[in-house]
């Protein structure tokens, strides 16, 4: 594990061991592959450790995307390009969570992984945002808003719109 100090400061020893002991496909991140790799691997973060030392890390130390870690590492997530073809091994995968980063990937791949939890991040400046919002609203039809109460205390900037709902497995 690169930068173990950073991960230990963030997750504690047990969390660190859990995350780094075995590879597992917990999460798929669907979006612009190049930008995601760059954001995960290059953005420098800092965390104050127990002994007041500043531990430097990267987002990917936590996300552990396979394409950024390289081979023979204990990955936890996998980046899916919103423009590439989907490998069949991934279309049949059942990760715990799917992060759709951007409208294009969501619109293209939303018929997959319907048993996983979804986190959809849409940018209002994305040319396909309106289309993606319509698709989110279609997903909502007939669903329960129960999740909304759990998230109602979530703080967010005034320009950010949020919706949340439970969906039945398809």
């Amino acid at each position: 594990v690169l930068r173990p100090g950073f991960l230990r400061s963030l997750l504690g020893l047990e969390g660190f061991q859990t995350l780094s002991s075995a590879a597992s496909l917990d999460c798929l991140i669907v979006g612009s592959a190049g930008s995601l790799k760059s954001e995960l691997g290059d953005v420098r973060l800092a965390m104050r450790g127990h002994d007041e030392r500043i531990e430097e890390g990267r987002l990917n130390d936590i996300i552990r995307a396979r394409q950024v870690l390289g081979p023979r590492r204990t990955y936890r997530s996998f980046i899916v390009s919103s423009t590439a073809r989907l490998p069949s091994v991934l279309s049949n995968a059942q990760p715990t969570c799917i992060v759709f980063d951007g409208g294009a990937g969501f619109l293209k791949w939303r018929h997959h992984w319907r048993r996983s939890h979804w986190l959809i991040v849409l940018d209002k400046t994305d040319p396909r945002c309106a289309e993606a919002v319509t698709a989110v609203n279609q997903e909502y039809e007939g669903r329960s808003l129960g999740l909304a109460t759990e998230l109602s205390s979530l703080k967010r900037p005034p320009s950010v719109d949020l919706t949340a709902f439970y969906g039945a497995c398809a």
């Binding site: 592959a33 293209k108 994305d126 040319p127 005034p158 719109d161 949020l162 919706t163």
Partner: protein, 512 residues
Amino acid sequence: VSAIDLAVLGRLYVDGADAKFSHHRVEHDEFRKLCVVMGHLQRHLRDSGAGSDTYWTLLMRTAKWFRFDAMASPVPFRDIELHSPISSLRSQYARCGSMYPQLAPVVVEVIDLLHLLSQSEDSPLLDAATDVHGTSKQTWAAVLCEARLVAASQAALTRVPRLKTVPVINQRQLRHVVWYEGLLLFGAPSWYGEHVFQAPRARAIEIFRFSWVSGKSPPMSSFTAPLGGRGAKSGDVGQDVAADLLIGDDHLEPAWVADLSFADIARQADTEPDDEGTREAVRARPFVMEGGRVVFLEADEDATALVLDLDEHVEDRLQRLPVDDIAEGMYLLLRAAGGGDYVVPVADSMLGGKRVKLRRMQQDWKDRLRRHVRETSLLDVSVRLLDLGSQKANESNVRNWMSRRSIHPNDRADFDAIMRLVGLDVEKDIYWRAMKTIDLAHLQAGQVIRRALLAQVERVDLSVLERLGSMEFDVAGGATGRMIASRVMKVGHEIVEISSSRIGKPIDVGGG
């Protein structure tokens, strides 16, 4: 990762929600008169059915583009480029009285008003913006809905002391992490993307439009069940819907969209001389490009095209994407002259002396296969190929195999079946090797072009491409020549049939 100013981000997410939109209605008697008269003429042409007569194309195209450019930019009337000179219009419509006697006076009035305005130094929208902008030293920008008007608008602003430091940008540049104290918008809000209003990049947004143009904002998308109500007030554009409606409709489309029929454009293109001497029809999807051009790309599910996606990370900006994945805002890469497939000329140069023989062989078996289809049918040929050992023969695949745009079937069994059917069974190995040689040359040509383009993309200032909407690239070391990257303004949803030689060739539909 490019550095992002956190202070700017904070303003986008917090101050953006309090953006104030102000509408300024502007008057101009002669221009209003032109719009009224054009409205009468358009209604009459539509109601009488005469609008389909190509006789009217020159006048309507010239007048519509002039009207739109005057409404959508601060450019003085006299600096707006006329699609056709006034003298051509006068000569073309000199005999209108004998063909459309009841419309002749209206036509004369439209041409007279165009003439009058095209000599006028008036710039009502610019004057209004100057008054509002005052002497503020803060960071403002003028925003246009169309990139092709940026250069002329910047020149107009430069001549006004109060506005000379205000940069002119196009609306797509507001998708970046940028923040201005104020923005000056020109024309109908509906000509702008939702993001301009939903994700404001300034606290003050001043909208200048002629009083007879609707102030209705574009439809805003929102969640059916937002958490805790609407998070942002940014969708509240403070609509000033009131408009005089004297143009007969409260929604005036941009000139490049108005009256655009992709089927008509395809039909018209097919009537022009075909430089490749063939009439192979293919299904194609239309794309409206920046600068008033339409390009058709093959709609086959395996068809791809080269695009530049400025939203992507620098190494991934140049991509070969399935045509179905090409979206508004991406930049299509096309040959600047000649059109067509840019891989073919480079591949041909790689084939060298063998080119003529190999291409003749490729054409030979495809011609033979086409002849069989002509004499019977696609279905009949598919069935016969299956009988002869083909694995994948069906109507769609046979159509693809005989297309000049494919080289050979992927599966050798399919190829051998075709050779048997067309009487080339004995030479099937020679033909297969020849097709593989062409295939390899195409593959290598694609790599050469990609490398050359990548080098160019890294070298040039792509912010110019974003600001102006299109840009030419030199592709060194290839026979492709210059290539043009042009922004996709609109993806057509209707699939049309068009001659394969028209694929990838931009067709001018006005404006320019």
